[in-house]
């Protein structure tokens, strides 16, 4: 496959970023509205990390099973987390797409560069949290 316009790559990369942001913000808005409906008139310090040391950090560990359960009952925090995960996935999708776009342009050097970045990125997001030295 060859891209017709030499700069068509920019439009596709831009689209991925735009749609990633759009989907993520719709989900986060939904989560925030649910959260405010439930907790909006409570004191922030009752359930937030508003006061230091009241809630120890490490409270909001993301666990996929918990997330799925939370989403089923429309738990506000789970919905926001889903939106943030979509946001996090956006740059990853952008790098993945770039691999194919550089390949379509026939630019082998940049295919290697982009694949390396993608591997490092996935390693960092998915593997490093499991390695003890990264658990500072």
């Amino acid at each position: 496959m060859r891209l017709r316009e030499p700069d068509a790559m920019n439009d596709l990369v831009s689209d991925v970023l735009r749609y990633g942001v759009l989907v993520s913000s719709v989900v986060v808005v939904l989560g925030v509205v649910l959260a405010l409906a439930k907790y909006g008139l409570l004191s922030a310090s009752d359930f937030l990390t508003y006061l230091p040391n009241q809630i120890p950090h490490g409270t909001f560990k993301v666990d996929l099973a918990d997330l799925a359960t939370g989403l089923l009952v429309l738990d506000p925090f789970s919905v926001i987390e889903l939106g943030v995960i979509v946001l996090l996935a956006t740059p990853v999708a952008r790098v993945l797409l770039s691999v194919f776009l550089f390949a379509a342009e026939g630019d082998r050097t940049y295919v290697y560069i982009t694949v390396t970045v993608l591997v490092l990125l996935l390693f960092s997001i998915l593997v490093t949290p499991l390695i003890p030295i990264f658990q500072a």
């Binding site: 990369v13 970023l17 004191s43 922030a44 310090s45 950090h57 490092l120 490093t128």
Partner: protein, 281 residues
């Protein structure tokens, strides 16, 4: 003491984040320089959660602003992808070393480095378009060149120089991001501006494009540690996205020297914040 309602907490964070997103998307940073002190000093949030929120704000600024800058051909995709090699390596190494380093000492060192880098930045404060260096060596092999159109439709051409030095700067940027969770946009812009001699708007928009990947590289760890508080990052992400759409419109119309001046101011504030944090303030 007045007890803040969750609704008020949300509104404050949302509004502050709009400002952070606008400034960040213009000068190529993630807005943590504004979000972190508001959260910690202003609202008394634990620094770990503030950094978790900053990571999310960086990703939001990056994707929100880069969608526009990439479409308008200001961001240099090849320069960005090439330099991301160095930032991701730096981010992973930094995260591995974080447990064994003294963050106060690091903040003092990096804050001082940033303050010193104000000198060359201020020396060329009025520069609009840098003299075009000859494209040679690695920069030529990797075609680290480009052009963009100003709002008056004039075409600005440029070549990158010293890609090796740029890579070193980017390793430092990645290390800081992994070690401290903050401040990596400033080092990215400085590397492209001072080392690689790219036009200021190309430097800030390409930094914008890159910071999302650097922050995403660190995000897994912050998620796993439980430092991403949904009630904090929800309003922050939304405010940042609104702010970034305002900021991108301003950047497209702004002149290079104006962007450089704003960057210098934000750099100075970032540096001072870092040094103050080193002294526990």
């Amino acid at each position: 003491m007045y007890r803040l309602l969750a609704l008020e907490f949300f509104v404050i964070l949302f509004l502050v984040s709009i400002l952070a997103g606008a400034v960040g998307s213009i000068v190529g940073l993630g807005g943590g320089v504004i979000v972190i002190p508001i959260l910690t000093i202003g609202l008394g949030v634990d620094i770990h959660f503030a950094i978790g929120a900053s990571i999310v704000s960086i990703i939001a600024t990056s994707s929100g602003a880069a969608a526009t800058y990439v479409r308008d051909r200001i961001t240099n995709l090849r320069v960005g992808m090439f330099l991301e090699l160095a930032t991701t390596v730096g981010a992973i190494v930094g995260a591995a070393l974080a447990a064994y380093t003294n963050s106060m000492l690091l903040e003092l060192i990096f804050g001082t480095v940033l303050l010193i880098s104000l000198v060359p930045l201020v020396m060329k404060i009025g520069e609009d378009i840098p003299a075009i260096p000859e494209l040679q060596g690695l920069a030529k092999k990797l075609s680290l060149k480009g052009s963009y159109r100003e709002v008056d439709n004039s075409e600005v051409k440029y070549n990158a120089t010293r890609p090796g030095l740029g890579l070193v700067g980017m390793v430092v940027a990645g290390l800081i991001s992994g070690l401290l969770g903050i401040g990596s946009g400033t080092f990215k812009v400085l590397s492209m501006d001072l080392a690689m001699k790219l036009p200021m708007k190309v430097s800030t928009t390409t930094s914008n494009f890159m910071i999302g990947v650097t922050a995403a590289a660190s995000a897994g760890i912050y998620f796993a540690r439980g430092d991403v508080d949904p009630m904090i990052v929800g309003p922050v992400a939304l405010g940042i996205l609104v702010g970034a759409s305002v900021g991108t419109r301003l950047l497209l119309r702004a002149k290079n020297p104006t962007v450089r001046k704003l960057f210098a101011v934000v750099l100075a504030v970032t540096a001072i914040e870092m040094v103050l944090r080193a002294f526990g303030i």
